[in-house]
């Protein structure tokens, strides 16, 4: 009975904090409802791509993508399915230290879950929109992406260049004849 009362007491204590719990959004939804979500604490999950811009002011800027390529990179052989869906994120430098290489051609970047305040047209940054990250958890480490040489293209391309070279040198008049 005492345990039950303790549980109820704790639950009541936590009630006021409930609305402040970060709600999880897809980036596409975040972009679609950007003005309405301004100033709210939200959670998004996705791959960090591009560059890690440590600006020396305690912040690191990068881009977080939440699209089909996070789980299924094109280089794994899946069919292309449209453009990327990403947002800028500003992460405290200390949280960003030690992250794997950001996503690009040779790498799938780390997949992270970040929570922070959505800044829609932030007046302090002359109207930029971005997620001001407060916490970060790495869900999946980055990994190298395999690449295959397109051998037939190498062979055909080399053949065409050699043929062009041969025709060029065989043209009449080169030797004055």
């Amino acid at each position: 009975m005492r345990a039950l009362l303790r549980f109820v007491f704790l639950a009541v204590l936590m009630l006021p904090a409930a609305p402040a719990l970060a709600q999880e959004f897809a980036v596409s939804q975040l972009l679609a409802e950007s003005p309405e979500l301004s100033g709210r604490e939200i959670t998004i999950e996705g791959e960090l791509v591009g560059d890690y811009g440590f600006r020396g002011d305690g912040w690191m800027w990068t881009q977080l993508n939440d699209d089909v390529y996070v789980d299924h990179p094109l280089r794994d052989g899946i069919a292309p399915a449209g453009g990327n869906i990403g947002v800028g994120v500003r992460i405290p430098s200390d949280l960003a230290e030690g992250l794997d290489h950001p996503g690009g051609y040779h790498h799938r970047g780390p997949v992270v879950r970040v929570t922070g305040i959505w800044r829609h047209h932030d007046p302090d940054r002359q109207g930029e929109s971005y997620l001001d990250v407060e916490s970060l958890a790495v869900i999946e480490a980055g990994r190298d992406l395999d690449e295959g040489v397109v051998w037939w293209a190498v062979a055909v391309g080399s053949g065409l260049i050699l043929t062009a070279w041969a025709i060029w040198w065989m043209r009449p008049g080169r030797d004055g004849s």
């Binding site: 449209g82 453009g83 971005y130 397109v150 293209a153 190498v154 391309g157 260049i161 062009a164």
Partner: protein, 498 residues
């Protein structure tokens, strides 16, 4: 009576096309080397294939050509129109083999968009694209903006250059010979390249905290896209990726430089500079930019999109400048741009439709035509209001005193009307597919004026007919119709002529 082209006509066209293909094959060695250095072996093979196709086409073309080719006006126009069709097809090979496109046609679309300096894209997963392929997309914009023909003229001086030069939508010869004009244009471009890449690279490295190699990579690609008013960007979030007013500032300077006519560049370099602001074209573009900026800012202010005047001005200014110069960069998402209704949306659409200066890398109707149209309308009104025998001045200043003659007025009106028709064509087809009028018109203007801003209509799932229409718009808009009509006339004469 229509005269059917004879074998000699085809041989002349083949000769000049061959030379141009060889120049582009040489340009293709750059991304090939880049792929090797970056150890991107997949793209390496596809670039080798592209260079091989171009080299073979080039050599066969020259080999098939006559000993002493004599290029007349119609040959020149056909060469230009075909160049701007074939290069995007062959240039699409590495894009197609990358696996980043849903349909083969989409790779051709992106290649045409790059070469015509439009910037609309159907590429999937740009953020994982090989750096060499990204470099090639942007190099296409540089080649297209500068003019492939111009590159060929710089290397192969010879007869017929003037026809090719004008065929590529350039209407002023800055120096006495076309070759020296071409070399001047390349000189201006190289100076801007050094300044642009250095400035953007330093901002990326020192202010944004990128690694030096990545900062230079971003600097180079953004330079290509800004100075040639192309609008491709290395990352999917365009210039919004950088979150930097300083980076946007330097990019804006390059966009302005790209939208300036090379005649104006010449005046800036070698004076007299006072004459610059007397030019009808300069006055027109300053007026139309001020007008569209004001309309857009009022629209954004009325709908309270931004909380502060500074935010509104920075974001509104960049979007309007990008639209008016025909670049197509953005600092806001496609979803947000689509939400900018009313005046703001209209301001940006009008800015896109008007375009930059003539003989620049920008698209659209062009400022000189707008200025001359307004002037001729004002003259007509004056003529009506003044006494019957009063004479209305028809002079205007554009690098010297000029006369607005009836044939010039007619030519200006025809081209301007053709642009309006082109804008309506794409909008009409978009409407037929159920796209709302506002979005259909915006995207159509963006394609025709070679801008590249999008409200989401351009997408891999778009209908094929609409995709083909946008490609036609990009091609015809970039060449300002004359070369396109010449090609159609040439084909018609071939089929129906005697």
């Amino acid at each position: 009576m229509l005269i059917r082209p004879v074998a000699e006509d085809f041989r002349v066209i083949s000769f000049y096309l061959g030379r141009i293909f060889l120049v582009v094959a040489a340009a293709g060695l750059l991304p090939l080397a880049w792929a090797a250095i970056a150890r991107e072996w997949g793209p390496f093979g596809s670039f080798l294939l592209m260079v091989g196709v171009l080299a073979l086409l080039g050599v066969v073309g020259v080999r098939f050509g006559p000993e002493e080719p004599k290029l007349d006006w119609s040959h020149g126009m056909v060469v230009v129109a075909l160049t701007w069709l074939v290069i995007p097809i062959v240039g699409a090979i590495p894009l197609l083999l990358s696996g980043h496109f849903v349909r083969p046609l989409d790779a051709f679309f992106d290649s045409m968009s790059g070469l015509s300096t439009t910037g609309l894209s159907l590429l999937s997963d740009l953020d994982h694209l090989a750096s060499s392929l990204n470099f090639w997309r942007h190099l296409l914009q540089f080649l297209g903006g500068q003019g492939i023909i111009l590159a060929a003229l710089t290397i192969f001086a010879g007869t017929g250059g003037i026809t090719l030069y004008f065929g590529e939508a350039r209407d002023e010869r800055i120096l006495p010979s076309v070759t020296s004009t071409a070399r001047f244009i390349w000189g201006v471009s190289v100076v801007h390249l050094i300044f642009g890449v250095t400035a953007l690279g330093l901002v990326g490295w020192l202010a944004l905290g990128f690694d030096l190699d990545r900062a230079l990579f971003h600097g180079l690609l953004i330079f290509f896209a800004a100075f040639d008013t192309g609008g491709f960007s290395p990352m999917s979030t365009s210039i919004g990726y950088y979150h930097s007013a300083l980076f946007e500032g330097f990019t804006s300077l390059l966009m302005v430089a790209g939208a300036m006519s090379f005649g104006l560049h010449y005046a800036l370099w070698r004076g007299p500079r006072r004459a610059i602001f007397a030019n009808l074209e300069t006055r027109t573009i300053l007026s139309t930019f001020g007008f569209t900026l004001l309309v857009t800012l009022l629209g954004l202010a009325a709908t309270s999109v931004f909380a502060t005047a500074v935010g509104l001005t920075r974001q509104g200014f960049f979007q309007v400048l990008s639209a008016h110069t025909g670049t197509g960069f953005s600092t806001v998402s496609t979803a947000e741009l689509a939400r900018w209704g009313g005046l703001a949306f209209g301001g940006i659409a009008i800015a896109m439709a008007l375009g930059g200066m003539g003989s620049s890398t920008a698209g659209g109707v062009k400022s000189l035509r707008i200025g001359l149209t307004i002037k001729s309308v004002v003259n007509q009104i004056k003529q009506v209001l003044l006494p019957e025998h009063a004479l209305v001045g028809t002079g205007y200043y554009q690098s010297g005193e000029k006369h607005l003659s009836p044939p010039l007025t007619q030519s200006v009106m025809i081209i301007s009307l053709l642009y309006v028709a082109l804008y309506l064509l794409g909008a009409g087809i978009g409407l037929a597919y159920g796209i709302p009028l506002q979005e259909a018109l915006f995207e159509s203007v963006s394609a025709s004026a070679n801008v590249g801003l999008s409200v989401g209509v351009t997408d891999p799932s778009m209908p094929v007919l609409l995709e083909l229409t946008y490609m036609l718009q990009m091609w015809a808009g970039r060449l300002e119709f004359v070369a396109v009509f010449s090609l159609l006339g040439f084909i018609y004469a071939w089929v129906k002529g005697r």
